[in-house]
């Protein structure tokens, strides 16, 4: 990396951060790409398919992930967080904290022998799989991770939490490269950059905010993102749609039963000032249509019902996709369900079908909730760190809603993707490219100002 050139910092390596990093790096400028998680990829890596094209999400994302991992102009800092930012004229002095992985990533070959050997194997909830699968205490979030280097989860590792892991470290014994290093400590890296792109993404609302849907009570009620992992060929069921159930310990596991009746509920938590989410989450109409399609594809005989208040199919090819899904024997019923309860082996979704004008009970053995997109839990911290303003909905505030959509109140700091507001992948990529273009303007000027 040409360190003497003016550089950019990108916070967050989901599809927005990845795309912006590649555009800037391909223009010849150095980029520091900081990602909190052990791998780049973000939310898009969790998705099974994209709408409306039904591309395999990880198949189109993985090449870009590999590119940022190998690009000579990109310094990738995964499992790292921005610690402090100080603005000095046109320069941002940035301190990045590299959290200890307890694995030497220069040595780790990513073979996975450690995870196989770990005493906690299969006992730690996988965040990447949205809790519907388990992993070891030493892990890669998913097989296509970049970098493909293992990390020890400090909250799950027996040694790191209790100071003892049997008579001998299983992972250390298993590692053929001697990469495991429990003495590793956080490392601080100072970099100077001219511009920053914030691309920190989104969280989903806790579905328990709508207790009437009994998420967490009935294992058969799941979120859309959980369904993505269930439907994904690399997920815990290898893409088979099965009904979740509780095992004897009370943990949710996948049964071997396929659903007969699937109900999808839109606008869960969104468009609802009660939950603090007055806005529309924008992507749920389309991903719910996609989920209905995936269920039809994998369970041809299932009865599929989508309960909706409105259908907002506004993007290129979206209305056509909605048309296609309905023709796949998916019943759209207008009405926001009011409650879910159990009757015998089935769940009952209670709603008014407003077109009929009467209350209806629809049986289900799988319910998929389209939960609202909300700002990242860390949004307030990031805003404070960078001096950025937030809009009343909690997302980062753009400088002007019409004409400066990726600028912010801080000169030379730009935003891209869902950290600014909910949006789909095409819009996220567009914003990433817009932010990259804005950042490049800063970098080119700075380069020209420096005598060669």
């Amino acid at each position: 990396m040409e360190r003497q050139k003016p550089a950019a910092l990108i916070v967050g390596a989901g599809i927005a951060g990845i795309q912006a990093a590649l555009d800037i790096a391909n223009a010849g400028f150095p980029v520091y790409l900081v990602e909190r998680e052990p791998s780049v990829g973000g939310r898009m890596a969790q998705l099974d398919k994209t709408f409306p094209t039904l591309d395999c999400s990880s198949c189109i994302l993985t090449p870009k992930m590999v590119d940022v991992g190998q690009h000579p102009n990109i310094e990738l800092m995964t499992y790292s967080e921005v610690e402090s930012v100080e603005k000095d004229g046109d320069i941002f002095h940035v301190r990045v904290r590299k959290k200890p992985r307890y694995v030497d990533i220069d040595v780790c070959k990513g073979c996975g022998d450690c995870a196989e050997a770990c005493r906690m194997k299969g006992r730690i909830t996988s965040d990447f799989d949205e809790g519907i699968a388990n992993r070891s205490a030493i892990y890669v979030p998913f097989p296509q991770a970049v970098p493909l280097k293992y990390t020890i989860d400090p909250e799950a590792c027996l040694y790191l939490t209790r100071g003892v892991c049997g008579r001998t470290f299983k992972c250390k014994d298993a590692c053929p490269a001697d990469a495991i290093d429990f003495e590793q400590e956080a490392e601080f890296v100072d970099v100077d950059v001219r511009t920053i792109i914030v691309a920190t993404g989104f969280d989903l609302i806790d579905p328990k905010t709508k207790p009437e849907y009994a998420y967490g009570v009935y294992p058969e009620v799941m979120t859309g993102l959980e369904f993505e992992r269930l439907s994904d060929a690399s997920g815990p069921t290898k893409g088979e749609i099965r009904i979740p159930e509780r095992d004897r310990r009370g943990d949710i596991v996948m049964s071997d039963r396929k659903p007969e009746d699937v109900v999808l509920i839109k606008c869960v938590g969104s468009r609802d000032p009660h939950t603090g989410v007055p806005y529309c989450s924008r992507v749920c109409c389309m991903y719910t249509a996609k989920h209905a399609h995936l269920v039809r594809d994998k369970v041809p005989d299932a009865n599929i019902t989508v309960f909706y208040m409105d259908v907002r199919a506004f993007g290129k090819g979206y209305e056509e996709f909605y048309d296609r899904v309905r023709h796949e024997r998916v019943t759209y019923r207008r009405g926001e369900p009011s409650e879910i309860y159990r009757r015998g082996d089935k769940l009952v979704v209670l709603a008014e079908d407003t077109t009929l004008g009467e209350p209806v009970e629809v049986e289900a053995d799988l319910v998929i909730l389209a939960t609202a997109i909300v700002p990242r839990k860390s949004v307030a911290d990031v805003a404070e760190l960078l001096g950025m303003e937030r809009s009343p909905d909690g997302f980062f505030q753009e400088a002007d809603a019409n004409l400066r959509p990726v600028d912010t109140n801080v000169e030379n700091i730009f935003v891209a993707g869902c950290c600014q507001s909910p949006k789909d992948i095409p819009d996220t990529v567009s914003e990433a490219k817009a932010a990259a273009s804005s950042a490049l303007r800063v970098l080119v000027r700075a380069k020209e100002a420096v005598p060669a």
């Binding site: 207790p211 009437e212 009994a214 606008c267 468009r271 609802d272 000032p273 009660h274 208040m309 409105d310 207008r334 009405g335 926001e336 369900p337 009011s338 409650e339 879910i340 309860y341 159990r342 209670l350 709603a351 008014e352 079908d353 407003t354 004008g357 009467e358 209350p359």
Partner: protein, 394 residues
């Protein structure tokens, strides 16, 4: 006579409605009667006038406020029912039984129309304790106990009030009571649409309470609790339902149990029904459960529909005095069957109306051999062995 809709639609902010149907979908009576609040809102918005008389199903609403709780747009659908009932009340076009209840409250301060001077009869056998409490109210006390109409007059509920007063005394609380001066809280009056009478009661009761000067008030009924807490504007008074007060006493170790509700080491299986005015409307879900869990001999089990998904017993919103348009399919029947399915021997409640409707349903459904409906207070009393009286066998 047709109601001009425009003014009411604007006052109640019905224009915020997006017709999502979440109100009617969750309405416990919409499944059994023609009441469709979503549709009524729509008619209020698109029709210039409404023939309110033709909507007798307005009297089916139990004011459980599930619709208000779940509306994503803050429309408060149940308030439309109340306002439309108000139109009927205004012009005297109400079911006879509603008129009788309102008249009883106006004349005697209670919906049964029983004599005001008999309002203390509930304290039979505890006259001295009540006398002390009345004296305390006169002289100024920390805590004011509002007994309520049903606990004062209904023989089935009177033991609940006695158990409460006894517990207060045992714990040594400085508690006051109003005796025959107490009048109906007006919670159901407002929900039956009689706003004028409600305002009168709120004013008179409010004055009475301010005269006592207690910083804390406790009620037997979640209905009285609801209106005092949310509609009276009693500044500086901490209004509590008795389950809140007792849960606190137990937590602080000030209320302990010497006995058990079961024999020896055995347990009674108890399930708990959340009253709408305590749960859905005031989010008090855990206190009643924490009391039950503290009572020796109780094994608490949950019905499938609990807390925010509890089913209304159909006793609120004036429904104690008007049958509604579908007598056959009572929600209380469904509820007691749900309770029986858990294997519970006792269905615990924390509301006089729930106690009456569910106990009746248990009898009608022939479940009285296996399922007993009891107020939490009766279980508390039963487990306070030394002090309990013959009430416990009621």
């Amino acid at each position: 006579m047709a109601l001009k809709t425009a003014k009411m639609a604007e006052q109640l902010e019905l224009f915020g409605c997006i017709q999502c149907g979440k109100c009617t979908g969750g309405c416990p009576v919409a499944r059994k009667t023609t009441l469709n609040i979503r549709s009524l809102i729509y008619h209020m918005l698109v029709d210039s006038d409404m023939d309110v008389d033709s909507h007798q199903e307005l009297w089916d609403c139990t004011a459980c406020f599930t619709c208000v709780e779940r509306c994503p747009k803050d429309v408060e659908p149940a308030e439309l029912v109340i306002s439309l009932r108000g139109e009927l009340v205004e012009s005297g076009r109400v079911p006879e039984t509603v008129g009788t209840a309102l008249m009883g409250i106006f004349r005697q301060g209670n919906p049964s129309g029983m004599a005001r001077q008999d309002r203390e009869l509930w304290a039979e056998g505890m006259e001295e304790t009540l006398k002390r409490a009345k004296q305390a109210a006169k002289e100024g006390c920390d805590l004011l106990y509002f007994v309520g109409c049903i606990p004062s007059y209904d023989q089935r509920i009177q033991p609940v009030a006695r158990a409460l007063l006894r517990t207060f005394e045992n714990v040594g609380l400085d508690v006051g009571a109003l005796g025959t001066e107490e009048s109906c809280c007006g919670n159901e009056v407002r929900r039956m649409g009689e706003v004028g009478l409600f305002e009168m009661l709120a004013e008179e009761n409010g004055e009475l309470f301010r005269g006592v000067g207690a910083h804390e008030m406790v009620t037997t009924s979640p209905h009285c609790f609801n209106t005092f807490k949310n509609e009276y504007g009693l500044d500086g008074v901490d209004v509590m339902h008795y389950t809140q007060l007792l849960a606190g006493l137990i937590e602080r170790g000030e209320l302990t149990f010497s006995g058990s509700v079961a024999e020896g080491e055995e347990k009674k299986i108890v399930t708990y029904h959340d009253p709408c005015f305590l749960g859905k409307q005031n989010q008090i879900y855990e206190e009643p459960r924490s009391i039950l869990q503290a009572i020796p001999g109780v094994e608490l089990v949950e019905m499938d529909r609990n807390r925010e998904r509890s089913l209304c017993c159909e006793g609120g919103g004036g429904r104690m005095w008007v049958e509604g348009t579908n007598l056959e399919e009572r929600l209380a029947f469904q509820r007691v069957e749900e309770a029986a399915e858990t294997g519970a021997e006792i269905l615990a409640v924390a509301c006089p109306f729930c106690l009456l409707t569910l106990e009746d349903a248990v009898k009608v459904r022939g479940l009285d051999e296996q399922l007993q409906v009891m107020d939490i207070m009766e279980l508390v009393d039963l487990a306070s062995e030394a002090d309990s009286e013959a009430d416990s066998e009621a």
